[in-house]
Each structure stands twice: as C-alpha cells, then as structure tokens.
Symmetry: C2
Subunit: 231 residues, 2 copies
DNA sequence: TAATTATTTTTGTGATCACATTTTCAAAAT
DNA sequence: ATTTTGAAAATGTGATCACAAAAATAATTA
C-alpha cells in the first residue's frame, strides 16, 4: 500500500490523533499523492503514523463521508477511480458551486481581503514559475478559499473542498504524466471584479477560471491519461 | 441528553454497528427529532443503542463531516444552532444545488421513473392529508432523491442530503410550534416538465418548489420561531 | 500445466480499559 | 447571598485484544 507519501505535516499541540490522521490523509489526497484505485488499510495507516486503529478509523470514516474515499462491499477502503463521466460531473458541479460561493462572498468582501488575494495570486505565480505543481495547486485552492470565506456563514466551503478532494487523485496522475499542469487562471479578472463589487463579473470570472482551468481537460484527453496511468 | 427519540429502525443482517448507528442518528436528525443545540455523548448513544463507544465514534465523526453535527473546542458534540443567516445560506444553496441536480438528471430520466415520482407524490399528499408531518417530510425528500438519482453519476446527492440534514433540526422545532407545516410543492409542475424533457422548466419547478416551500420562511418568522423554542 | 482445495495471513470490527480533561455538584469561605 | 474551593462524576481519547470474514499463499489434485 505504499509509503502513503505523507509528509509528516506539523501537528499543533493538543490536536487529537484522529484529527491529525484526518488532516494528513486529506492533504495527501488533495495534492494527488495517493492514486485512484489505491486501497488503504487501517492497520497500515496506523503503523505509518505510529498510532493505533481507533483514531485512524475515525479519520477514514470522515474522509469517506467527504467523498474522498469509498468503502467497498468487502468493507475495504479505497481512493475512488476516475472516469470521464465522473470528471465531467465533478467539474460542472464545481463550477455551479463556486460561482454561488463567490456571489455570496461579494457583499462581505473587504479591500484588505482583496489585497490578500493579490498576495496569494502572486505566490501562486511564483510556484508555477518554478514548476512546483503541488504548491501551485495548494495556492490556487487557497485563493478560492480566501475569497469564499469572506462570507462568515460557511456551509458551501466544505462542499467545495469535497469536490477538490475528489479531483485530487486524478490531478495527481495528470501532474505525473503531463510534464507541467497547464495553469491558466482568471484570478486577476476576479480581483478586478471584486474591487468593483460586481457580483456578476466575479461569478463570470470564477466560471471562466474553472472552465478554462481544470475544465480544459477534454474527454479524450482524460481517457488517454487514465489509460497511460494504467487505470 | 434525552431518549434520543430514535425509533429502532430495522437493521439488515450484516450491517455493521457503526453504519447502523450512523443511519439511526442521521434519520433522527433528518426528521427533526433532535433539537438544535442539543448535545450528544458517545457513551450515551452507545448505551441507548446497546453497543460500545468505538462504533458510535465513527458514526459521530461521519455526521460531523456531513454537517449534521458540530464538534466544539471542548470536543463535545452538538447539533448546530440555527440562525436566520444560516437558514438563508442553507436555503439559497439548496436552491442552486438542487436546480443543478435536476438539470443533470433530465437527460437520464425514463418514463418509468417519472411514474414512480407520481407515486411518491401521491403518497406524500396522503401523508399531508393525515397530518403526518414526519412522513410527509421524508416522502418529499424521497421525491427529490428519486429525481436526482436518475443521473447515474452521483456526486451531488450527498451534498443535497447534507443540506437536508442541516435543516432537519430546525424543521423539527417548526413542526412542533407551527400546528401544520405548510406543505406547498411544485411536484406536478416538475413532473409535467420532465415528461417533456424540458430542462429549464424542470429547474424552474425545483426552484419554485424550494422558494415557495421551505424558502417561504421569512426572516422575522424564523427569529420568532427560534425565540419561541427558547433558542 | 491448470484448476482446486487447504492453510496461513491479513484485515475490519466491536468491546474494554486506563488516562487526562472537563464538567458537575457539594462544601467552605468571603 | 455570592464566590471560591475541592471532591466526585462524566466524558473524550487512544491503545489493545479477541473474533470473524476475507484475501493471499501453499499444497494437492486432475
């Protein structure tokens, strides 16, 4: 079952073991360190994190409820396989969900937060420049998260992150087989729209960001990629 | 912490204890048997279900990831309180999400499934007629679920159900304080649109169904209701 | 050699226990 | 009467164990 590819990830004092296990596995899945179809065992993870089955089970249950893992009939747990249909479903849902999240954020946005968005976008560009795919991915998510969390009432974000989690493993093989993930984004357009508090324009920017970014994978390309990765 | 108000709920042979605990708690929350702000204890639930802490913890973790429960800083677990803002956020997201789910279902709909929708709608009307609020609620959900699951690729449904879960406890107090939950629906309109495979009309029907149904709660009414319930 | 059977190992599951923290409740002090 | 202190109870947490089912491996048979 592999070395889990889990960078240890710092653990704040007082954090419970099950929460730590959850965060660590989640991070690994999010950045594509675990491949679609790979199966995880409770004891294996417990051993890898030097803990015991009980907290690991809690972490795995949470991740399965978050769509990141699938529990099979034999009760074994694996990272879901990707298909072209599922990918299309995920991307179209992501578009709808994030447009809505963006709209609901606009009334609460502050100049201060927009400045932070600029910062994050700059950092992402740097990561892209040095071909640091994993960090570019994380910074891209950080940009979107920083926008949506302007809205103090957060019921959407967990769902958005669930989609990211479900896309993660596929992005992992994409990054492995495509030399450089094609990072186009419409962040500057979104920022400009935010400065004007133009809800429609912000939503349009997010829509374009997604459809031209991850939505750029065409059906044939996905199937080809999956075949390449032996899926 | 009360008697949990958990009707035993039949347990298929071979179902694990943690899954059973999850289903039972989930059902209770969904139909509003557990009040907002009520806190749950691992041992209490374990005792009520005649099992032990381990599987109950797994169930509670899942429910917290599904938005049905909130884990506090003191690690205690409770049903989230409702506020007018949160309610508005939930309903607007529900509208967007279910419209999208409906659209994605239309291409896969069959006459057979539409017939089943008619059946469910009839059953719901009967439940309403005999003032059986809980079952009317469940049958309403069943109607929506039966529509969305026409789409074989299901990433949306868990999110839709997460919203239902988060609205459940509030609906519980609503049913308690408003003699009869005002059940307006646009199911017949949705069915007619489905027969014509008219995606826009289906989405419009769902949108109206939600905004005239649960969306009918006005801000003042919600705050009043919460005060009445001692929230 | 291929298929079948038997054995061993792996794995998920649920109960139990000890520990630390938090909460609750009673007693004491201001 | 209110606050403070202290003891007792309740609670979340994580490790361990026994059990049953499943998977993997070895041995046997056709």
């Amino acid at each position: 079952m592999g070395n889990l590819a889990l960078e240890p990830l710092d653990r704040p004092e007082g954090m419970t073991t099950h929460e730590y296990a959850h965060r660590r596995l989640r991070q690994a899945i999010m950045v594509g360190s675990i491949r679609p179809g790979e199966s995880l065992t409770i004891r294996g993870i417990a051993e890898a994190m030097e803990s015991s089955p009980t907290p690991v089970r809690e972490a795995l249950r949470r991740l399965s409820s978050e769509g990141a893992l699938r529990v099979l009939d034999n009760r074994r747990i694996m990272v879901p396989r990707m298909t072209a249909d599922r990918f299309s479903e995920l991307v179209s849902l992501r578009s709808v969900l994030e447009q809505h999240a963006a709209r609901r954020a606009v009334p609460h946005i502050t100049e201060r937060r927009i400045d932070r968005l600029e910062e994050i976008d700059r950092a992402q560009d740097e990561a892209i420049a040095r071909k640091d795919n994993a960090n570019a991915l994380l910074l891209n998510q950080e940009f979107h998260r920083a926008l949506y969390t302007a809205n103090p009432e957060q019921v959407i974000l967990p769902m958005v992150e669930s989609i990211w989690l479900q896309l993660g493993p596929f992005l992992g093989i994409a990054m492995e087989h495509v030399a450089q993930l094609y990072f186009v984004d419409r962040h500057q357009e979104a920022i400009a729209a935010l400065r004007k508090r133009d809800e429609d324009a912000v939503a349009a920017a997010i829509k374009a960001d997604i459809s031209e970014g991850i939505g750029g994978f065409e059906r044939a390309a996905i199937e080809n990629l999956l075949r390449l990765a032996g899926q």
